[in-house]
Symmetry: C2
Subunit: 259 residues, 2 copies
């Protein structure tokens, strides 16, 4: 595999830091190639602004159009171009981050906001009576797999089907489906560790063992069965799921996963 790890935690000596270090050593020992973007170490700029698009920045700024023009001209900033090149190089992308306020840390959201530009990650492909662009199963990053490795402070029960935070699959849906599957990446079931605010000293060995097992079986793990957009499941252009495709009683985000 060619594995690209995007790492977002401010403390190298954290559980997140240990899991990324372990991923690098485990994958390299198994003969895989690895690149890491350690966003804090890179002092990654989180906020989208006119500087990102250089001479392609309109006045007033139009984020989608200007980012698309800068992308097509090959004139996005070097930091963003380097991340796009790593994504194109990789066949597998791992995101290592703590769940902060039910989503990614801001520095990682800023990596998405700046790297996933128009014409690269969205605004790709033609629209017709049977296609609504290339997205959700097609797109620039099709053929790749991704995996979220997430540390969660709270207990697992709070993220269960009846848990107060909502089911973890729903909490992660805007990332897994909305960010990753959108430009064509297949998404593997996430590696989620709960209760990490109170992880005992002895518990790390178990976490590390489970993580090594996931890493060494990535190639044989089936992805989440998100529905492809342009292959008959959705009305176009409303992009409503056609009636009757889901099991009885399934609603919300879960509609978009095949049984």
């Amino acid at each position: 595999m060619k594995t690209f790890i995007v790492h977002a935690h401010p403390e190298p000596e954290s559980l997140n830091g240990s899991l990324t270090d372990l991923a690098v050593s485990t994958l390299e020992k198994a003969g895989h190639e690895v690149q890491v973007s350690d966003l804090y170490a890179m002092n990654w700029k989180a906020a989208v602004d006119a500087e990102d698009y250089g001479p392609h920045a309109s006045n007033p700024l139009k984020v989608p159009l200007d980012s698309g023009r800068a992308f097509l001209a090959g004139e996005l900033t070097p930091d963003v171009r380097a991340e796009q090149e790593k994504l194109l190089w990789a066949d597998t992308v791992i995101f290592q981050f703590p769940l902060w306020w039910y989503s990614m840390p801001a520095i990682l959201k800023g990596w998405v906001d700046r790297v996933f530009t128009y014409r690269f990650a969205y605004g790709v492909g033609e629209h017709s009576a049977t296609r609504y662009g290339e997205r959700f199963g097609e797109g620039t990053l099709a053929g790749r797999k991704a995996l979220l490795s997430v540390t969660v402070g709270g207990p697992e029960s709070h993220y269960g089907p009846r848990g107060i935070n909502g089911p973890i699959d729903d909490v992660l849906f805007p990332i897994q489906h909305g960010i990753l599957y959108y430009p064509g990446i297949e998404v593997l079931p996430p590696f989620v560790r709960y209760g990490t605010d109170r992880l005992g000293e002895g518990a790390y060995a178990d976490v590390a063992k489970a993580w090594e097992e996931r890493l060494l079986t990535l190639e044989s793990t089936p992805p989440i069965a998100f529905r492809r957009q342009n292959f008959g499941d959705y009305e176009i252009p409303s992009l409503h799921l056609k009636e009757g495709l889901e099991p009885a009683g399934r609603t919300g985000f879960g509609l978009h996963v095949r049984s």
Copy 2:
């Protein structure tokens, strides 16, 4: 009202910029007090790091504990303290932002990550057999209301009950329930405008009229009926919703809204 507007868009001459300007003028004309945090204009630092906690930063850094110690000592950085004070001053908080990749722009997520510290927004209240801290309906910011005003590039049908992006209520749940209701803020139904990537010149007048109407009726608008955590609906400490409380067939995030 004492209204605090948190504004997150890089271009003042954008729809988001116009909506914030209109909110200020409309509310002030109606006799309300208004403060605005324009995060781009403030050059808001998005990434949580050890500098946020000064002498309270441990080595290795512990984000929750260190942020809580710095908060209790009154020694968070001045930018963060100022935002906490605005939240405590306000009775109504408006968030104006574009939906980027199904969530907030990074600069706004970084406002949450840095301002919503331990002991201020979470880690508040005691745990017992009948209470799991003060959160989801109780907490430091109880007694306040919030409203998301969100511009969305795509069409409304894509965010409907069967739409490919998932229902807008679910897309916004991690923000409305996970970020705002968690520290006690009641959340009003959001003001969402769709198709804003292709908004015609004439369309702004309609958007502005609808926005003014929402602003002038905030005080009489009932909040979303999220379930309070410590008042009988949940098992403690699993925080599973007790069986039988929801209408038949309701699942996922929707469980946590009363009928």
